[in-house]
Symmetry: C2
């Protein structure tokens, strides 16, 4: 019984990494098996729904890791600005450390499949929504009203996602550095009160 969860976990971890680096359609089941070192049989045992089921589970797993990172960033920060800067720098660190291969673990699959797969569309949408909710909670914690925080959270996530996309494409940290300045402006919303 111990081996099954382990091979399931390895398959998902490999899928998260490959979808993040080259997208959902660019990743064949064989690529996932090879990267995970899992036998084909274990894949059908753990994921009877095939690639789409692996995709859904991988997106949920990757989304949850980022969500927890956002929660922790809020917990260890003293201000909105510190909170948002921390989130931006964590994303920049992942991207640079992977030599610009690992940006957002959700965005590529979201763009590829939103018009094609209801299951994957819902998984990507749920991941982004949860991040928005945690960003909003952090903003509220440091003084925004609920309504301000909800609106600003969308702007913050858009700024981060767009900057990650440009940084990855340019293979440069600059868009994420500039995003920090934009986030500082967004952090000031509601503070004139």
């Amino acid at each position: 019984m111990a081996k099954a969860p382990d091979s399931k976990w390895k398959t998902l971890a490999a899928a998260v990494k490959l979808f993040r680096q080259q997208g959902y359609h660019g990743t064949a089941l064989n690529d996932i098996l090879a990267a995970a070192g899992s036998p084909r049989g274990s894949l059908y045992f753990h994921f009877p729904g095939g690639k789409e089921e692996i995709g859904e589970s991988a997106l949920t797993l990757a989304g949850e890791a980022v969500r927890q990172g956002i929660v922790r960033a809020a917990e260890v920060s003293d201000s909105t600005e510190m909170f948002l800067t921390r989130v931006a720098r964590a994303m920049a660190a992942d991207l640079e450390k992977s030599d610009y291969q690992e940006g957002c673990p959700i965005a590529t699959t979201a763009l590829e499949t939103s018009a094609q797969s209801e299951v994957l569309g819902e998984a990507t949408s749920a991941a982004f929504r949860k991040w928005e909710i945690e960003i909003s909670s952090g903003l509220e914690r440091f003084g925004m009203t609920r309504d301000e925080a909800d609106q600003v959270a969308t702007m913050v996530l858009s700024q981060l996602e767009g900057a990650l996309l440009l940084a990855r494409t340019y293979r440069s940290p600059e868009p994420l550095q500039r995003a920090e300045e934009a986030l500082k402006l967004l952090a000031r919303i509601g503070q004139e009160k």
Copy 2:
């Protein structure tokens, strides 16, 4: 001689649309041929480099259309805010009119191929850079210094790209509506002078 450019054009237009809707890897050469109504022979005649060459040409074509849209938006606007709002609304209109199938024509392929293909990586990077340059020119026209405009242009493009991604994933215009508020803040940079 008249038929060749026409079939080349149809192939590229079909490729732009398909890559935009479902990404580069999710689009097979046969999908492009079927959508364009072109014979396979014409494809190899016009694009001896195969799919990658079609991708490069399609990205260049799609990037140029957006670049021209940004230039026109600056020309018919009287202020930074009007300029940026116009660009955001044009993107929102494309997305809604296509029932959330057509977001950014560059982003999906950029994320899928940046780690894999130098040719496509350069084509996506060049498209985004050209948009940044035109956004920066528009910002300078309405009063920012060159240096401010260059920096803010990156923040503006990140905001727009991230909002397009979220709007497409959520199938909702809200992220782009909220992006307009963020763009208004960015438009005020440098105006306290």
